[in-house]
């Protein structure tokens, strides 16, 4: 192997062909109302943790639904589970349940 002084960048694209979508499927089979998310972002706007850190609940769960699990556990662990998001969600999604479920499915504890 020769070092040419540069590496090969990895693709940024979400590849739905190679991503493992089974875990994502298990997640929304358990909480089908997550599918009703219409990405209004009010959860992220009201988020207690999001006010202090870069945690973005909407983005993380959307990535999880696309099979992008990296960082999801660590990100969801920033959540304080205070429940404000559930109160503001116009689609009545059980957001706290989503946080716990994603952590359970993607964590190693």
């Amino acid at each position: 192997m020769i070092d040419f002084g540069f590496g090969v960048n990895t693709a940024r694209a979400i590849n739905m062909d190679t991503n493992d979508l089974d875990t994502a499927r298990e997640i929304f089979d358990r909480l089908p109302d997550l599918q009703a998310c219409m990405a209004c972002g009010s959860c992220t706007a009201t988020c207690t943790a999001g006010a202090i850190t870069s945690f973005n609940f909407r983005k993380v769960h959307t990535l999880v639904r696309r099979g992008e699990y990296g960082e999801a556990y660590a990100e969801m662990s920033k959540c304080m589970l205070c429940g404000k998001c559930r109160l503001v969600c116009p689609r009545g999604i059980n957001t706290r349940g989503v946080v716990l479920l994603i952590k359970k499915k993607l964590g190693d504890y």
Binding site: M1, I2, F4, F6, N9
Partner: protein
């Protein structure tokens, strides 16, 4: 491929004869045989009038796309090429380079949309060189010209793009330079989504074009992305994306109409083989990358070494054998008078030392 009728909607006018020829910076250095082959085919096989003025320069497109050369400067340089053409009494410009072709097209469109820029350019050119120029009647890329004459070449063909052993058509991946039609779809044969310029040649000469998911994707050259070393990882990643996408279709070779693409699709295969150990052709070899002139030259029976194919990073011998080309493998690195011109070191992408098979003469 039968369904690819859409190209018919994007037909452009290609001059039939009397071309003023401008060269490509990259090709002069890396594929000099291809440019010579173009002239030989045009003049010798097709009997066309192609004029070349030794005073013409780089179009400075690489500098322009790397934000080094300003627009006014490149317009003046382009105007000078046109002045040389006008002085020689020609009206049809044909360019060896896709970047140049894109530059000419872009500047002509700019002059059309903003006539004041044309006036300013005339003034600059006159002040700098005392020259005047006419707008060319027709601007084409060399591949357009070959496409235009593809049936005549087919008629004169000594070989077809067919596997000599099995009789199956060769599977060809065609790669079109981004600046050929992605900027002005109507300036390319077949438009930007399904350009037909190379596919037409391949089909006329008996090959089979492979359509694959990343067909439209850029080769990764991207000027700055290659020129700055720390960005090269991005450049090579684009090529890899294409290779990974085309590899399952087992192409026999890649044909390009752009200097940069030919170079990078060829050389990045070596780089990837050395960096990651991955190759995309059969038996741990790379996929040979040809220019359209080399492809035309092989069809017309030219000697591959005369076409400059020893300059390739990925060895072409497997392809030549497959096509049934009559050539002398041992004289690969022998120059015009039989003088050894030097051979590259053995590279992973070529799997094993070529001279083991062919006893290459030094």
């Amino acid at each position: 491929m039968q369904k690819r009728y859409s190209w018919k909607e994007f037909q452009k006018e290609i001059a039939d004869d009397h071309y003023f020829y401008v060269r490509s910076c990259i090709r002069q250095n890396f594929f000099p045989g291809s440019e010579q082959a173009f002239l030989n085919i045009m003049r010798g096989d097709l009997g066309k009038d192609v004029f070349e003025d030794a005073r013409h320069t780089s179009c400075t497109g690489i500098g322009y796309h790397s934000d080094i050369v300003p627009l006014e400067t490149i317009m003046t340089v382009v105007a000078r090429q046109f002045a040389l053409m006008t002085e020689a009494g020609y009206e049809n410009l044909t360019s060896s380079c896709i970047t140049s072709f894109g530059i000419y097209t872009e500047i002509l469109e700019t002059w059309r949309e903003f006539p004041e820029t044309l006036e300013r350019t005339r003034e600059s050119l006159y002040k700098a060189t005392g020259r005047t120029f006419e707008i060319p009647k027709n601007v084409s890329h060399n591949s357009d010209v070959i496409f235009h004459n593809r049936e005549q070449i087919a008629a004169q063909a000594k070989l077809k793009l067919v596997n000599a052993l099995t009789g199956e058509p060769l599977r060809v991946v065609e790669h079109i330079g981004c600046h050929y039609a992605k900027i002005f779809p109507s300036k390319g044969i077949g438009g930007s989504e399904f350009p037909y310029v190379l596919a037409g040649m391949v089909e006329s000469w008996g090959g089979e074009v492979v359509d694959y998911p990343e067909r439209r994707h850029c080769c990764g050259f991207g000027f700055r992305n290659y020129l700055v070393q720390s960005n090269r990882g991005y450049s090579v990643a684009n090529s890899r994306k294409k290779f990974e996408s085309m590899a399952p279709y087992k192409p026999d070779f890649i044909v390009c109409n752009c200097p940069g693409c030919t170079m990078f699709l060829d050389k990045w295969q070596y780089t990837l083989a050395e960096m990651e150990g991955s190759t995309y052709g059969p038996d741990g070899r790379g996929i040979p990358v040809l220019t359209y002139e080399e492809m035309a030259g092989l069809v017309l029976g030219y000697d591959p070494w005369a076409l400059g194919m020893q300059m390739h990073q990925v060895d072409v011998e497997p392809l030549l054998d497959k096509m049934g080309v009559d050539y002398d493998p041992s004289s690969k690195y022998l120059g015009k008078k039989g003088k050894f011109i030097g051979a590259p070191e053995v590279a992973t992408v070529n799997c094993s030392a070529v001279d083991k098979f062919y006893r290459i003469k030094r």
